[in-house]
């Protein structure tokens, strides 16, 4: 079972790193940065190795470890890789070193605490993805808020305290309702031998009455919807992004937002299939509304970070649409879109951070014609914009195309049965690609083109990207185009888990004489 320990090592590497960090003297920030970079790069290497070792098409968990943690309740330290969390784990590990590298120059105060928090955040995020035990999932799910709260709160902008409190309390409220559902499940779920169990596998065998399912799903769905964020529950995102330091924004956009969608994929719909069926129209509507609402708001912002924040709302609307289509294409597209958004939004935030470091302003009106002043920066910015728009050959297109195709493919048979609503929604979602191009190209035109203008703080010595920054962005762009051109390998590895997800959610519909 040696490889199982590999996964444990992957999970606990940041904790070990954090412990070592304590030993380093506060006066030597370069050592601290070096160590955390080392730890996260090692983690990336391990994650890549695990990804390669992961066999496609094999159902059930791989690299599984199950050890009793709180015996009396039947809670186990149970982690494992399956198709659903494989890509997200790889994404988290991939973004880790980039975030730290991106923060070399921007974080100068309390460097040790910052890197400690980044490592702790990495640990909790990976824990949430890997957890196969409901209680363990919840512990990691809420523990994730603490480092993020501190990162935004300590190194953020002027209104950081308002932003970080709003972020924490917003997400915590969702989690409280989820906790109520988890507590209820705590004593209703029985494993084979009758003792109470939290294993998600046991949860799947659960037969609950529909009204109970609806209540529980509401608890879970609210918490996940806040995290996604879906439209009515999204107002924490712009504030959190605007006030967070670059590294915070990248992690927030890159990984934290995927928690919500992963939650739906792993726990939300499969646990309560009947309730999921009932909720599908609502969630599908909210998903499409998120796409259009996010695109609309991104168009009228003047703060660059807010534009990208609202674009995240729009992009994750696609993911939700894919998940709710319960169509193999749609869900696979959703998984790819999650990874793609992580890379694209992460990259864009890194770039905003780079320009903020140089010119200390995020106001779009203060900028212009950067293509003349910073050519290399502009090329990378254009490439990332293309991915954000979902131009073919980029990962954005792969995600959006499969999601829209899946949504349409799922909606068409219903249309033939006379229910036109899903088809209307799927078509409205396609409109999203136009709106997406609208706000992104407006941002590019105002930032890169037109007469060269830089906020007075920029000063004369405006130098283009240095090697470190270029290598970060090059890694991201390479990944984006790799997923854009050769997504098949990723799709094969996640297919089996997605099929199981579909079987768990769809049988309910088959009984009603579905397609």
């Amino acid at each position: 079972m040696s490889e199982a320990n590999a996964l444990n090592l992957l999970l606990f590497l940041p904790v070990i790193g954090g412990a070592l960090l304590l030993l380093l003297p506060e006066r030597r920030p370069d050592l601290v940065r070096g160590l955390s970079m080392l730890v996260l790069t090692a983690q990336l290497a391990l994650a890549a190795w695990l990804y390669v070792q992961f066999e496609a098409g094999v159902s059930g968990l791989q690299f599984e470890t199950r050890v009793p943690w709180i015996a009396t309740w039947g809670v186990h330290y149970h982690i494992g890789l399956d198709g659903l969390n494989l890509l997200l784990v790889l994404l988290t590990a991939f973004l880790g070193p980039l975030v730290v590298a991106g923060a070399f120059t921007s974080i100068t105060r309390d460097v040790k605490l910052f890197h400690g928090m980044v490592l702790f955040l990495q640990f909790t995020m990976l824990g949430t993805f890997l957890a196969q035990d409901l209680f363990l999932f919840y512990v990691f799910w809420e523990a994730m808020l603490i480092p993020m709260f501190l990162i935004i709160g300590i190194w953020g902008g002027e209104r950081r305290i308002y932003a970080t409190l709003k972020f924490f309390l917003y997400t915590a409220f969702g989690s409280i309702l989820m906790l109520a559902a988890v507590v209820y499940l705590a004593f209703t779920v029985l494993s084979q031998d009758g003792s109470p169990s939290f294993a998600i596998a046991d949860l799947h065998l659960l037969e609950l009455a529909v009204p109970v399912q609806v209540l529980l799903l509401t608890g879970f769905a609210l918490s996940f919807a806040i995290k996604v964020p879906m439209v009515p529950l999204h107002t924490w995102l712009p504030d959190a992004h605007v006030e967070a330091p670059t590294a915070g924004s990248v992690i927030l956009a890159g990984v934290l937002l995927k928690m919500g969608t992963y939650g739906f994929l792993k726990l939300g719909f499969p646990l309560f299939p009947d309730a999921a069926q009932l909720a599908t129209p609502l969630i599908m509507t909210l998903a499409v509304v998120s796409i259009l609402y996010g695109a609309g708001l991104a168009l009228v912002q003047d703060d660059i970070k807010k534009i990208i924040a609202y674009s995240s709302v729009s992009h994750l609307g696609y993911v939700m649409l894919g998940l709710v289509s319960y169509n193999l294409l749609g869900v696979q597209g959703a998984v790819i879109q999650m990874v793609s958004h992580g890379l694209v939004a992460g990259g864009l935030f890194l770039m905003v951070g780079m320009i903020y470091e140089r010119c200390h302003s995020r106001d779009l009106a203060a900028y212009g014609g950067l293509a003349k002043l910073l050519p290399v920066y502009s090329v990378f910015f254009m490439l990332l914009t293309l991915a954000a728009i979902g131009l073919p050959t980029t990962s954005g297109f792969t995600g959006e195309f499969l999601v829209l195709l899946g949504a349409f493919d799922a909606a068409w048979p219903l249309f033939e049965q006379g229910r036109t609503y899903p088809l209307a929604l799927a078509s409205a979602a396609v409109l999203g690609i136009v709106l997406g191009a609208l706000y992104m190209l407006r941002l590019v035109r105002r930032l890169l083109f037109g007469d060269a203008r830089v906020p007075e703080a920029g000063g004369a010595e405006l130098r283009d990207l240095n090697l470190r920054e270029m290598s970060i962005l090059a890694a991201l762009v390479a990944a984006i185009f790799y997923i854009g051109l050769f997504p098949n390998d990723f799709l094969q590895k996640t297919e089996q888990a997605v099929i199981e997800y579909q079987e768990r959610v769809l049988p309910a519909r088959v009984e009603e004489g579905g397609p």
């Binding site: 131009l391 890169l448 098949n488």
Partner: protein, 629 residues
Amino acid sequence: MTAMNGMLTLLVLLPLAGFILNGVLGRRLGPVFVNGVGVGLPILAFLTALWAWRTLEAGGGVPIIETVFTWAVIGEHVFEVAFYLDRLSAVMALIVTGVGALIHIYSIGYMRGDEGYARYFAYLNLFLFFMLLLVLGRSLLVLFVGWEGVGLASYLLIGFWFQDVTKARAGRKAFITNRVGDAGFLLGMFLIFTTVGTLEMDRINEAFAGGLIPLGVATAVGILLFIGATGKSAQIPLHVWLPDAMAGPTPVSALIHAATMVTAGVYLVARMSGVYLEAPAASTLIAAIGVLTAFLAATIALVQTDIKKVLAYSTISQLGFMFLALGVGAYGVAVFHLFTHAFFKAALFLGAGSVIHALNGEQDIRRMGGLARRIPWTFGTFAVATAAIAGLPPLAGFFSKDAILWFALASGQGGAAWLWALGSLTALLTALYMFRLLWLVFLGRSRMEPETERHVHESPVTMTAVLVVLAFFSVIAGWFALPHYLEPLLPVPALRFDSALLHWAQIGFAVVLALLGLAAAAWLYQDGGRRGDEAWERFQRLHRMLAGKYFVDELYERTLQRPWRWLSDRIFLRLGDRVLIDGSLHGLAGLARWSAAVFARVQSGSLHWYAWMTLFGLVAVLIWVWRHV
């Protein structure tokens, strides 16, 4: 289905290599390297296209299929990236690479000294790569990749001189309008995928031909794909971006916005002829929109004063003719007109470029005139091309446009008298506005400012040579019987009534119209357009309408952009985010703070009050417990 090893892939990858080399190394290694790569590779691509065409003909026209790699396998759906060469795509490839190569050569002269020289050639090569991808792709997915790719290339090239905000904004307008079309295209693709199960175009045509697709679905697919085509080929209602696209360098306008990209829509409809044969309703719609666009664009072209705008509206009009042909089922004829149009429109645009180059940047035809003697070569080629487009025999335009008008009248699949009538009227207007251009620019008195007039000079040989070649092709292009050549692939529609007499009468009538246009133009615009202006005095309101391009841009601004911006700002942002959601949250937070203050005040510090609360609590509890005993 002979699969030659990598010939098509090589053809597609050559321009891509050009883009990468110029993009990365171009700036450092100077213009010579850029010319070598930027022009050399397209020429090589043209030769490869010729070689591919020859192998195709050697194989008896059997389509060549080359699978490159599997993009994705999801469940039983397989998405493959494969190239498909049959006679139609061979013709298109030859046009793209041929005209493309010529325009690259032309660009050497036109763009000399521009500081974005390497970047320009990189983008042009990128465009060729995506266009070839579009033309040679087997599945609609690969076609769509090329489709959006050329959209990107046109965005980059229109906004090439990005310092000028209006040019950048024109680029964005082009991309957004194309994207609207692409949305329709996507829906069409999804519908096909859901009903047919595959995206490979040849299998789709077979499925539709097999008749197992219901009429409703066929019509829907037809219309949706046509929406994509209108976006790309600038038909009403998505034609607004093409005139603004003139902001790009002139060779770009020639290559992308005349010869190749805008014809992608025509290629798509021609390629998916199987669908449209099954969807008569969609075909009539295409015919109607085609002829309508042709007519309206022609009317606008009459009053334009910018040389490139005239040609832009002329392109829209000619594309209208092509869609008219497609609408009545004459797919081969449409491609034939596309073929001839590529040459003479490229010649016209490059000619205009040469004129602008000569007058270093002047584009307003009211400040030109009398250039014939000063730039003879340009005048000669421009005249030939003008004659061709006007449809004077024996030039190219005459053959293709006449065939279109004939089928518009006589085609069994939707041919109608009013289509022919409007088409003929447009042909007249075409001749009128083209010869007006010829007269105002080259003949009559010189209306140039003194200092521009002083150093008017003929363009360098690299430019004029290309003009001559294109002019030559504008002459002979008509003689290739392309519709017959594409016969097996694109069926010629059965005729409603087969009378040779009517056919000849129609041809004669078309020639008369062309000559009439020539004469009217000559008469009106002889001495600097004085009589023309007087003519327009009487139709003051009509003139304002035409000059304002039917105010379509303003219509879109008021009905689409402003409401969306208002909705996003007022409703979503101010009302939705700030008032409803955040407002209620701050309200809750305020409520919590207020109640905290209340609870704190209850702790008043006085022992009496504490004791009183204890009594109150005790009494309340006792009452509750003893309430129903």
